[in-house]
């Protein structure tokens, strides 16, 4: 059994928090850059230009990409052959709290959703999702999710006999209705199948998949949804244009004979995440 030390985990999480908040991943920058090249409307093009400049300023001057430094969502894949020296939940929360303070990141978490909306001041607790996998390594992803785009999340429980057109219509209508609110161009994550909660979680995981779906039918569906969303005219930041959605990613799961959940995670143009393997 391999042991990962308290310090190793703490340092890894802290580094991921910094990278995610200040450095846009290369493929996200590239996606914005490609849209900038193809955009025809002057205001939309100028908007994309500003978003690209934002990424450069954030990285070079060490200013957070967005003032909303998000909820911190952590995905852990813990190998069956690995053990952590200490309570991983405590270590991760401490690393996040310390790093938010030392890097002047905005704390945005309140204690209680209803009766005590006092800012915890540390941006914790972190929301952690754990999978147990084969092997003797620990994979960690830190994903920063802003409140404005999270508010546009959606779940619909379709009947199992619903046809794909109905599902596409629902997705496109949700993106159109959200309009400027979630800060498009969006990275759209779709969870299909499982139970309601699994679909929502898969929508979160889907958005972090760099590559299109490996299965051809799902890949084609991703492409159709992308094309349809980009005919809505919402455009960058809702100012109009052809670039409303940057990428569409689907993560499916087996489901009950009576159900067909479809969950949507609308991520803003500032897709902030970083991963590492210990």
């Amino acid at each position: 059994m391999r042991t990962i030390s308290h310090e190793e985990l703490y340092t890894a999480v802290s580094n991921l928090v910094v990278q995610a908040n200040f450095n846009l991943p290369d493929h996200v920058y590239q996606a914005l850059s490609t849209m900038h090249s193809s955009e025809k409307k002057p205001l939309a093009k100028e908007t994309l230009h500003i978003l690209l400049q934002n990424a450069t300023i954030a990285a070079t001057k060490h200013i957070p990409l967005c003032q909303d430094c998000g909820s911190v969502i952590v995905f852990l894949q813990i190998g069956t052959g690995v053990t952590i020296d200490g309570n991983p939940e405590e270590i991760i929360n401490t690393a996040v709290a310390d790093t938010y303070r030392s890097h002047y990141l905005r704390p945005s978490i309140v204690k209680d959703p209803l009766f005590d909306r006092t800012n915890t001041g540390t941006n914790t607790p972190v929301f952690i999702h754990t999978d147990i996998v084969e092997g003797d390594s620990l994979a960690i992803t830190v994903y920063i999710k802003g409140g404005g785009s999270e508010n546009m999340s959606s779940l619909r429980m379709f009947t199992p006999t619903a046809d794909i057109e109905q599902i596409i219509d629902y997705i496109v209508a949700t993106v159109k209705q959200a309009g400027p609110n979630p800060c498009p161009p969006l990275f759209l994550g779709i969870g299909i199948g499982g139970t309601a909660d699994v679909a929502m979680l898969n929508a979160k995981k889907a958005v972090l998949q760099k590559e299109p779906h490996p299965n051809e039918e799902y890949r084609r569906l991703e492409e159709v949804i992308l094309q349809r969303c980009n005919t809505t005219g919402v455009g960058p930041l809702g100012f109009g244009g052809n670039n409303t959605v940057a990428t569409v990613r689907i993560k499916e799961a087996p489901t009950h004979i009576a159900t067909l959940p479809v969950a949507l995670n609308l991520n803003c143009h500032s897709l902030r995440y970083r991963s590492t393997i210990l």
């Binding site: 060490h62 200013i63 957070p64 909303d68 704390p107 945005s108 800012n119 930041l237």
Partner: protein
Amino acid sequence: MKTIDLHTPIPEHDLQQLKAGDFITISGTIYTARDKAHKKIAELVTQQKPLPIDFTNAVIYYAGPSPAPPGMPIGAIGPTTSYRMDAYTEAMLSLGVRMFIGKGFRSSEVKKLLVNYNAVYCSSFGGAAAYLNQCVVDAQIVAFEEFGPEAMYKLTVEKFPVIVINDMYGGDLYA
């Protein structure tokens, strides 16, 4: 792109010429206020207590900046989503606010109010918070420091870029 450069306090004739879709820049003084500050201001108005600033002709920016790192007046400072402030907009208009800056849709009620009060709603660049930091010359907390990032800041800005979404004639860029 062609931009219209405005200075605060924004003269009446400058506000009147603004049309949905215009790219404008603002130089001068703007005030941040988001969810908690709006709720608090509304309470102060109801209780007839003194207000933290004079809202006459003010520009209100829906924003909750990240903390200022050493050597900078403020941290990242992009707009937050505006619809959450819809319920308080009439109170702010009646205090004399003439321009709101945020991002995203306003309710049909707010759009009517903007016409009635001859006020303008603009969007800044959501998620361009490091870029917008570069337009802020000075930042001072003027109220509600206890709210942390939701405190009310007086910002001195230089060519702060915004797009007119709802002009005072009912024009709507999002429509």
